[in-house]
Amino acid sequence: MTFGGGPLGHPGDLIPLQGPRGSRLVRDRDALRSTAVALLSTVIVFAALGLLVVNAPGWAAVQRSFFNGAVFAKSLPAIVGAFWVNVQLFLLAEVLILVLGLVLAILRSLPGPVFFPVRLMAMIYTDIFRALPGVLVIYILGFGMPGLGIEAIPREPFFWAVVSLTLIYSAYVSEVYRAGIESIHPSQEAAARSLGLSRVQSLRYVIVPQAIRRVIPPLLNDFIGLQKDTVLVSYVGVVEIFRQSYIKQAANFNFTPYIATALVFLVVTIPLARLTDVLVQRDRRRAATSSR
């Protein structure tokens, strides 16, 4: 396997640990010291920033408007309740995105002149949906499609929200898949073909499984993006977490509900971001060991 694996590998991060500095004891002491320094500097920086904010002339007003305990307690249940709509949205959309994105990536990776129109269409699709701002797609589909007045076309804004998010994110995700597929060394396909696998079989059994493993971290990254973008569907009338916090905000003339909403997103996305990091690290370690 190649060193530094995957499109996300930063070869620079792979400096061997056993340097000229030698003994384990010295390394442990170094580690302890750097951790202490990091802690101290972090505390100092944040204390300074905190003091700066708290002593700003408008802090009292900002605190009243953004960090109001009573408003927080009053609005949190409704906000968390509304988040369930976002959860349904991103779970449903993510499944569709992973499937559609892979299909698009494979279509774009089909070799040979015969498949040129297919590649072209897949390319146009990804170009369009990566170019358009998400709000526009949601607005156009959410209000435009039901506006056609065709009975068979669903009117539910939730339905069109799922469709819009799937269209937008499958374009991104297909590019991630494609990067993964292209990162697999051509020798892999050559080997598969020499074993008698057809082109499709080698894609199915050799290339794609390896590619998907490599792109799991960037896929998780896009998943986090998708979670945040679910708030865009508030534009077509769905009362989800952002809209609910806006309602609470306007009812109280107080922006604390936004802070509550921000916390909900932090609670959900930070663990996922950590998980992504862990996966990247594991991949890197595996690549490093297998290359020795």
Binding site: D13, L17, R27, D30, A31, S34, T35, A38, L39, T42, V43, F46, A47, L49, G50, V53, V54, G58, A61, V62, Q63, R64, S65, F66, F67, N68, G69, A70, V71, F72, F143, P146, G147, G149, R155, E156, P157, S234, Y235, V236, G237, V238, V239, R243, Y246, I247, Q249, A250, A251, N252, F253, N254, F255, I270, R274, Q281
Partner: protein, 330 residues
């Protein structure tokens, strides 16, 4: 070595953040509703008849705090009024021959005309405070910005803002200048159009503009079985109604008249909710900076406009008679 280091740093970071946040939030939990400097909070439409005699007493001490020269204004010498853009009829009427910038639009209002209910009220208040028409400056301010912390760009903000005690903790809200009824609008073809009782409404899907008391009306009074839809603007709600994504829109009655007259081809007002009564009844207030010294003067001006019949006259000129829309039975 890299891993534990980064992890520790991340931990420390989150720790510091959490510490900073809770530290910020905990010491002063709720802003105790400051002993109001200006007579701001209590709505006093009900007390109108009593207002004029007491007014004389307020005005008698020689340096009049409400004289134009003594007022602390955003822009000296001018009375700056903020409102949302677009400004809608019947609160703001379009200018014949085209609206001035930034109020462009075909059938939306231009506040600088003095035409339209709130435009007229703002100019009347300015007049009572001693500002001639040309001394009134209008600026476009988004609703949320009217109560965001920080210095205000306006002296008063006039945009159908309903009084709520919670809101009065963040901004000064003037005495009311209009008691507002909420109403239901739908298409003539909808089965909802035949509803006459509030209890019949629960089966339908309603939409409203986000952050409005109309939405509260859906949740608290109609209590529908289907989740209400909420939109950025009434225009978006109208689109959804035409698309049959919702069965009806809840809006304030004057806007309902405008919608059915101008914005919807086959629109109809199904009914209005019972007229609000008492001092807590929903009413429109002007928004001012919290503890603004101007609030008392604006309230004085409003009281004078009520006492001399000007407000009633403006209301009659610009807003359709409430009685011309059917009222829901419980």
């Amino acid at each position: 070595m890299r891993t534990p280091f980064r992890f520790a740093a991340a931990l420390a970071l989150t720790g510091a953040l959490v510490g900073a946040c809770s530290g910020a939030a905990s010491p002063t939990p709720v802003p105790s509703p400051a002993p109001s400097v200006a007579p701001s909070a209590a709505p006093s439409i009900a007390a109108t008849p009593a207002a004029s005699p007491s007014e004389a007493a307020v005005l008698s001490p020689s340096p009049d705090p409400c004289a134009p020269a003594n007022l602390k204004l955003v822009k000296a010498g001018a009375f700056t009024v903020g409102t949302d853009n677009p400004a809608y009829p019947p609160y703001f009427a379009p200018r014949e021959g085209g609206n001035t910038s930034p109020w462009e639009g075909d059938f939306v209002g231009d506040p600088t005309t003095g035409q339209g209910f709130e435009s007229a009220v703002a100019y009347a208040v300015a007049d009572k405070l001693g500002f001639a028409k040309e001394k009134v400056a209008w600026i476009a301010v988004k609703f949320d910005n009217s109560y965001a912390p920080g210095p205000k760009a306006f002296d008063v903000y006039v945009a159908q803002v309903s009084y709520k005690p919670e809101r009065a903790q963040t901004a000064d809200l003037s005495d009311g200048y209009y008691f507002v009824n909420q109403a239901v609008v739908t298409l003539k073809s909808s089965p909802l159009a035949k509803a006459t009782r509030i209890s019949e409404l629960a089966a339908y899907k309603f939409g409203a503009q986000a952050g409005t008391t109309s939405y509260d009306m859906i949740v608290n009074t109609i209590k529908p079985t289907k989740d209400p839809a909420v939109f950025d603007s009434n225009d978006a709600a109208i689109t959804a109604l035409k698309n049959k994504q919702i069965d009806g829109i809840v809006v304030d009655l004057p806007t309902a008249f405008f919608m059915t007259a101008v914005q919807l081809d086959n629109g109809v007002i199904v009914g209005q909710f019972p007229a609000p009564t008492g001092p807590d009844a929903e009413h429109f207030s002007m928004v001012l900076a919290k503890d603004s010294p101007l609030t008392g003067c604006v309230n004085q001006a409003l009281a004078a406009l009520k006492a001399d019949g000007t407000l009633a006259q403006i209301t009659k000129t610009w807003l359709s008679d409430k009685a011309s829309a059917p009222a829901f039975k419980p």
